[in-house]
Amino acid sequence: MSTIVKFENVVAVAGSFPVLTGVDISVQEGEIVLLQGKNGAGKTSFLRACAGLLRINDGSAQVLGFDLRVNRQAPRRYIGLLGHENNLYRDLWAIEHVEFRAVLGGGQKSDAAEALARVGLTSRLWSVPISALSAGQRRKVAIASLIANRPQLWLLDEPHSALDALSRADLNAILKEAAASGATVIFASHEGVLSEELSSRVVTMRGGQVVGDSGAR
């Protein structure tokens, strides 16, 4: 089993505010890590730093074997990031959007239908502009876009938000399946029971640091 994420005393700054103030964490392949902490604890920033989108000012950081302080771009194509926002083009149809994202990520157009079916979006809604979908349906389109890219490392920010109970269970099944097949999942969530049921390890953040870790080794 290899180490997917290894952060040592990582400091990162957004604007002039220190969003990460010395993060130490190491995540192994196949783990499903739940990030907890109040708003502003640094969960989102940690996910963005893992994705190579946030410049690291101090400390050492390795993701998928790449040193982020040398090359932040290299690991990105193996990572799927789902942010707070869904990153959707409002005027595209759901199927068009997922097709676009699948091809963008180096996959096939045909992956799109499979991914949309997997998240349980009824095919009636596939050819509807995204702006006409509900919040939960949009979230599903965003998740389908990730599935189409088959990432090795999933970074999810509040993945359950806006989803109904059935869809949440669906999502958990998808993530467990991905982890079982060798992917690694790190997600931030406020959904207590549902998240703990999914996760294999719980990490608590506060003030831009990791302050609690159920699975530290």
Binding site: G52, L53, Q73, R77, G80, G105
Partner: protein
């Protein structure tokens, strides 16, 4: 790479076809400007005829800036630049794809504006070929410059004011060359219209080279 460029351009154009911002808002707005120029110049027919080429390109400059802003708005409103950064797609493809879709939109804008000045400013076309060549050259130069500076302003909160400030000085030579070329094409001045047209192509080429080299950097910092 060509496939990537086409993929991106097609996506942009599809969004534009659905949202109809260029057709529904920018084009009527530039038409309005053509009309307002006539008010400003007191509907002075000889003056409008002499100024037709220049006024045309000022209207294109205005509409084109709006289209450039719109081209980056569709990416930033949902945070989609992150997806480009996360994907293995080349920054150069993104630059060319965006330029291509902007080019097509500006051409469409020109297709609306050209008959407008012909009818409203009472000018005749002396050289059709030159008119078309100059229109295309201007659109190419405009789109590559626009995309190059658009991405620079894209991540910033004050982009709607910053983009014109950065873009217009750069486009000043295009405006100058376009106006002169049109004056020749419309038979107002018999000067070197073709040379001005080739100057626009040179400007476009220079900015394409710069864009291909620098776009990766700019995207990363947007």
């Amino acid at each position: 790479m060509l496939a990537e460029v086409l993929l991106l351009a097609r996506k942009d154009l599809r969004i534009e076809r659905r949202a109809k911002v260029a057709v529904g808002q920018v084009a009527p707005l530039t038409l309005l400007i053509v009309v307002v120029f006539a008010f400003a110049l007191d509907a002075n027919a000889p003056l409008l005829e002499i100024g037709a080429g220049g006024l045309y390109w000022v209207a294109v400059l205005y509409g084109g800036t709006l289209l450039t802003q719109r081209a980056f708005e569709i990416e930033t409103e949902g945070g989609n630049f992150d997806d480009f950064k996360m994907s293995p797609i080349k920054a150069q493809s993104l630059f060319l794809g965006k330029s291509l879709s902007l080019f097509i939109q500006i051409c469409a804008l020109e297709l609306v504006l050209t008959p407008a000045i012909l009818l409203l400013y009472d000018v005749q076309v002396a050289e059709w070929l030159l008119l078309i060549a100059a229109g295309v050259a201007g659109a190419v130069a405009f789109s590559v410059c626009g995309v190059l500076w658009g991405v620079m302003a894209a991540g910033l909160r004050v982009r709607s004011t910053l983009l014109p400030l950065l873009l217009i000085p750069v486009l000043a030579p295009v405006l100058l060359a376009g106006s002169r070329a049109f004056e020749t094409a419309l038979g107002i001045r018999a000067d070197a219209g073709w040379s001005w047209t080739s100057l626009m192509f040179v400007i476009a080429a220079v900015h394409t080279v710069v864009g291909l080299a620098a776009f990766g950097f700019l995207l990363e910092e947007s």
